[in-house]
Subunit: 364 residues, 2 copies
Amino acid sequence: MSSRKRCGCLELFHGNHITRHILLIGENMTSDNTQWKLIARPEGEAKRADFEVTSSPIPTPGPGEVLIKNLYMLVPPSMRLWMNEKESYFPPAALGEVMTGITLGVVTESDSSDLPVGTYVNGMGGWQLWSVALAASLQKLDPHPDIPLELYNTVLDVQGLTAYCGITDICDPKPGKTLVVSAAAGSVGSLACQIAKHRGSKVIGIAGGAEKCAWLVNECGIDAAIDYKSEDVAERLDALAPEGIDAIFENVGGEIMDACLERINDGAQIALCGLISSYNNDTTQRTSALMSLVNRGARLQGFLVKDYLHLHGAMLQELQPLVLDGTLKYQVDVLDGLDNTLEAMSRIYSGKNKGIQLIRINQE
Amino acid sequence: MSSRKRCGCLELFHGNHITRHILLIGENMTSDNTQWKLIARPEGEAKRADFEVTSSPIPTPGPGEVLIKNLYMLVPPSMRLWMNEKESYFPPAALGEVMTGITLGVVTESDSSDLPVGTYVNGMGGWQLWSVALAASLQKLDPHPDIPLELYNTVLDVQGLTAYCGITDICDPKPGKTLVVSAAAGSVGSLACQIAKHRGSKVIGIAGGAEKCAWLVNECGIDAAIDYKSEDVAERLDALAPEGIDAIFENVGGEIMDACLERINDGAQIALCGLISSYNNDTTQRTSALMSLVNRGARLQGFLVKDYLHLHGAMLQELQPLVLDGTLKYQVDVLDGLDNTLEAMSRIYSGKNKGIQLIRINQE
């Protein structure tokens, strides 16, 4: 590894899709492995004091293992949940261990003929510069040369598949149906909006801020967007969907979900992707709003991308061409360096992120 | 109609199934039609002042219509919701009109060859002694002579079908599965328990009071019951279902539902039948408890009996023999006279009712 200069923060735009806050990683980077270990269960937002940052020698792969230079790490809204003692869809991150993270990296040493040096892989590399993993635990990537590598840790991986399976398998969008997406400008929401629109539904997005709403309507081409920060969501839903709501792709929970549930039509399908409003604070739902599920014979279906891995190929088949021809709009917000992961999480909860939040761990 | 004496309240037991609080209806009964009209939207529990009680001549059936002497009226927990301005699964009861009620009656005058005098019918007869309806709007009954008539307005009608479709179509009970039923001693819950048990599941009921719990275990034969009034529901669920919960038949909502949701297994099926805790007061759910639906890829499915009328025959085929041979335990709690309908509703909310609450409107 070369020693590289830290030259301050540069913000680059690649088209209007990827925002890169690029640091040129400087001389305080050594060839050691920097690791962020969870040492306390955070209360509210995760803080620096909940972690210990250590430096140790770069590990050596054992039999059947590879050494991976971690390049990118996803910062999904649910990352905060992994820090709790209570199990979410991952086992809770263990105290004293490297914090859990979904990464994209490149193999730099290999004891596996399946994954030679130079192979790109997805895995659970965690909050660290380098990781060692059994080859069998990694997903081999075959990135298209004209598609930015970041997308294979975002739009064309977890985020794309989450949107794809929730929309296609649960919401069942088609012409004549009205579909609402909450956190619509977010990592999964914006893809959910576009897949539903692509399949002919009327799509209403709910997002925070005029800029995000404008992006959803003008760039992503959905029918309407509601700015929950400045508009009354219930009133706007009444105005925009007087015919009622046939399907919801739900990411948020709390009052916004209640307002949507109260306007569903008979047989409505709600894909419950996440409940971001509850991750830091224990928000509530009005039980009476859930009563709409009874009165409308509606289905609130939780789902996890891990149960839909069989659709990964179908997702790539539908989305990769839309990426290549520029039809699919996305925003990837790259912050540079593991030091910025907590800031990245904070940006998500305050709605400052522009689309999918990614940490660049190492330069390629 | 004969004038009958009011002789005070007599409590009779028919086996241990039907509790009848029988008034012999007295001389203040006239041949007029007594009607309870909703004149105000109740706040909290419905009160006498929310109704006007009027007396008018018994109506005459028009073309295609029949005159029905209303014999029984169901008092389901959801009856309170029909009084709200907001639509539930019925249109809201109109102010100034006879209050909505699901009744069983007998045809006493007929302009329909399909429903000759003496035919028993189910219909929406409302809170009144007599009603007139189009023959086509009524369900003709063929009651078995060895089965008490009350059951055709309860166990073998709405309540039985609700339990049957929620359990069989959504919860999908079978050996090896653990199923929880809330409001388990209630009108639908006790039938849900027994159908699930009959199909081989492990069944845990949640009910209020030691007597109800004993009845569920000793009479209905379920595996265990939790008394939410004296026990910690979450702790008891941990003890009784260390293997987790595979399906829930949910009637209550609020904290009890949260405790159940937090213990579901992957792919759990929750039949959302009602949310009684929210009918008088706006209770809440913890959004984080709903997160279990995501983490477990679980389904919260609201349903209405009206969407399952096609299973009515299948329900009768399964339940009628169980009634005749005494296998199916049920409790029908009959209060006498429309004057007691508000008391009947109050009994439900305070958990004083013993099973399905029915009002006897007229003597047969």
